[in-house]
Symmetry: C2
Subunit: 464 residues, 2 copies
């Protein structure tokens, strides 16, 4: 006998939680489709040669390789050398790059795609960090160029997603990498590598405080002036408080600038984005400038996004992304600039559950039809069929047993309604409907039960 168990680092759910998870996937998909993004799916594995072109470092260390039995035997016998032929995807961005480059001539640009699939990373196993997890991504990919206007749609999509998920108030944080780069250039820090190292230190601000930064950034390896450090601290502290304040903050950094073209360009892009975000109807309390947001320092080149839950800052960013200059330079000569965001849903689900924000969902089963008398089985099955044909998710009990036990099952399983057709009901031509949430019951003629239940199911349940 083998002990049944999953490999470590996977999120496997019981049905009640899977229903809650699936509803989150459905909400996200629906929002992505609402904004005109098109679905794609890619295989779980790619050719190693294709997948592992860009990085040689941390990412490759985390990759899972895939080998057929035959390939494994050849490798063990020393007949083949080098990396296995295939590897599991570690994100959805590299597969998107491969997909767009491979199908370039069959796609229309700007290409708007969504993709919601699992990705794989051999991370150190720890609570809430998964080795297999869902990413829910959207990107808009341009050919040759893509106006910054497109960057404005992402805060609107994020707003739709997190409003619909109803997990509490949130704030979409905006910044721009050109603006940051320009700010550092104005300070005389033109070297990208030094900028990146300064930003990594700035990331420690919350934990270590400003004095740590003052000491470190003026010290060896950095050599910033005390004045420059104060300017950095002022800059990364910027959080706008309203739409007008955001525009004013941008005017302010431009006015203080020593003339960096990148800074001016970044500020102009952010203005376009802010104005269109407002035109798209996102309430101004739900987005703000945050000049401390940097994101993937090597990758993003313009607008960057993070999203935080106002009442759960400890969770960190729940949806992030940004603008990049060239999606697929490793696969095609075409220049493919893009902008996108990603939601790491498995981790988010775990965090929300830890924070008590995932509640035991109602079952996908809406009505249980119990079995009270085996002789009435044809009638109860016909009732179940009628309910199903009326669009109601219905479970038939086929094994019988005491009604009390069947009601208890429905209650525990989160099934709200029980439609009883016993000998009395058959004689009276009625069905007895129990509403387990409201602890209520009513009787309806058999030919009205579908209509009656549809009315009940269409009403939002107000729990007191």
């Amino acid at each position: 006998m083998i002990t049944p168990r999953t490999p470590s680092g996977v999120l496997e759910l019981l049905p009640a939680e899977q229903i809650a998870f699936q509803r989150m996937l459905d909400v996200i998909r629906s929002a992505y489709e609402r904004f005109g993004f098109l679905p794609i799916e890619t295989p779980a594995y790619e050719l190693s040669e294709v997948l592992l072109t860009k990085t040689g470092g941390e990412t490759e260390r985390q990759v899972y390789f895939v080998q057929s039995t035959g390939a494994l035997e050849k490798s063990a016998a020393g007949e083949t050398t080098g990396l296995p032929e295939m590897a599991l995807r570690f994100d959805l961005t590299v597969p998107l790059a491969r997909y767009v480059a491979e199908h370039e001539h069959q796609l229309t640009f700007p290409f708007r795609r969504y993709q919601m699939q699992r990705v794989y990373r051999g991370e150190r196993a720890q609570r809430g960090r998964y080795r297999e997890f869902y990413q829910c991504d959207i990107d808009i990919i341009g050919k040759d160029e893509l106006s910054p206007r497109h960057d404005a749609e992402f805060p609107a999509v994020i707003h739709q997603v997190f409003t619909d998920l109803a997990i509490g108030p949130f704030t979409i944080q905006l910044n721009n990498r050109k603006l940051m780069r320009g700010f550092f250039e104005d300070l005389g820090i033109a070297d990208g590598d030094l900028q990146a190292r300064v930003l990594r230190e700035v990331d420690k601000l919350d934990k270590r405080g400003p004095d740590y930064l003052r000491t470190t950034l003026t010290g060896e390896g950095f050599g910033l002036s005390a004045d420059a450090v104060e300017q950095v601290l002022d800059f990364v502290a910027v959080r706008s408080t309203s739409h007008e304040d955001a525009l004013a903050r941008l005017d302010d950094v431009v006015a203080r600038s020593a003339g960096s073209a990148a800074l001016a360009e970044g500020a102009a892009e952010l203005k376009v984005v802010l104005d269109l975000v407002r035109a798209l109807g996102v309430p101004e309390g739900d987005y703000r400038l945050n000049f401390s947001i940097a994101r993937g320092l090597d990758y993003y080149t313009g607008t960057v996004y993070e999203t935080t839950l106002d009442e759960h800052p400890e969770i960190g960013s729940i949806c992030s992304g940004g603008r990049y200059d060239d999606l697929a330079g490793q696969y095609t000569k075409s220049r493919l600039p893009g902008v996108g965001i990603s939601i790491g849903l498995s981790r988010l689900f775990w965090q929300l559950r830890e924070a008590g924000l995932v509640h035991a969902a109602e079952s996908t089963v809406q009505v249980l039809v119990p079995q009270m008398d085996p002789d009435l089985l044809p009638q109860t099955l016909a009732l179940a069929t009628e309910l199903r044909q009326g669009g109601i998710n219905t479970e038939s009990v086929l094994d019988g047993g005491k009604l009390g036990k069947q009601l208890k099952y429905a209650d525990r399983a989160g099934i709200r309604f029980v439609a009883i057709l016993g000998p009395q009901e058959v004689e009276a031509g009625t069905v007895t409907v129990k509403d387990l949430r409201r602890a209520d019951q009513f009787s309806v003629p058999q030919d009205e039960v579908v209509r009656a239940l549809r009315v009940e199911l269409a009403q939002p349940l107000e729990l007191t």
Copy 2:
């Protein structure tokens, strides 16, 4: 530059086809939920030790193993021996067995689950055979026992799925392994292995004809009498033509039986199933007995199902399954009998496409809002927002260009409506709506556009 390409044996679709595929997944999921099945998902890979308990043969040869970079290095250095720690699932049944055994005490039995995920098999690459493909499974698992009544729900679910998929008329074929076993016992063929070998020969009936069977089955290795072979040929030729005919056929085989208990039991089970299938409202023309259906000879123990498209017999079974005695004997001492079916959707999609039964779907995008004048961008974005808030999937054009080009894009992309807000419309307070399918257009006041489009979208499109 690396050539962007997928590994062989995967089904990767362009967005228009992905939309069609996704709609099939949605239809199947909806039907599964309609019948009260609950969702689960399991990781793509399992521990090899857990996954590969049952079989040592063909299946294991087809398994893909998964190794982290670290494990690969250790293995190459000879520090580890034996199989890699993890392997990709090759079906959804073994993961279900592991899941039910692992979570046995947290599940309610009968446990009704659906699962729609990709599985992996290192098959020889050939057209329409995939190494990564979707399976869409439902099973009902009992604890200790599970009445044959449950077997009746599967034809009803199959009927719902294939009616909703609307890919043409289909027939659900039913048989029972006990009935078959009993029939062979009556003929004096009690040895299960010999039964299996005879059935494998019977499978060649269509290709090789009855004389091949007469020669083979009376010859070396089989040794059946000529009379026995004729009885086999008569038996496997049984196809019922109506519900009453099916019951009569069962009475007939029982009447002819030499007294096999298995045959009587199998016939009684089929009668229960047939009567409940009718009670569940499945039209009698859509199911029939077919005594040639055997399915997984080692695995199934009672009712077995296949489903065929009446107008495309060349496709073979598009949905199959059956009853098994013990799901998870390798993982738990509990006896877990079950019954289930599986749809191999990737292969089915390919077959339907080959048969011309997958049509370019309408886009998930319902309305395109073109951009005609950059100054009107805030207004067109506000219009798009209004449409989205009205539940309409809307794509905004942000890059502008000629209207004709934007209309052409919508047409090619399968977007049915275009909602135009140009200078004239702004002045008149209207929106011009073009219906590209009907080659029609109309003008509505701006505050009525959502309602008007919802009415249009709710009406089924009749194409002449």
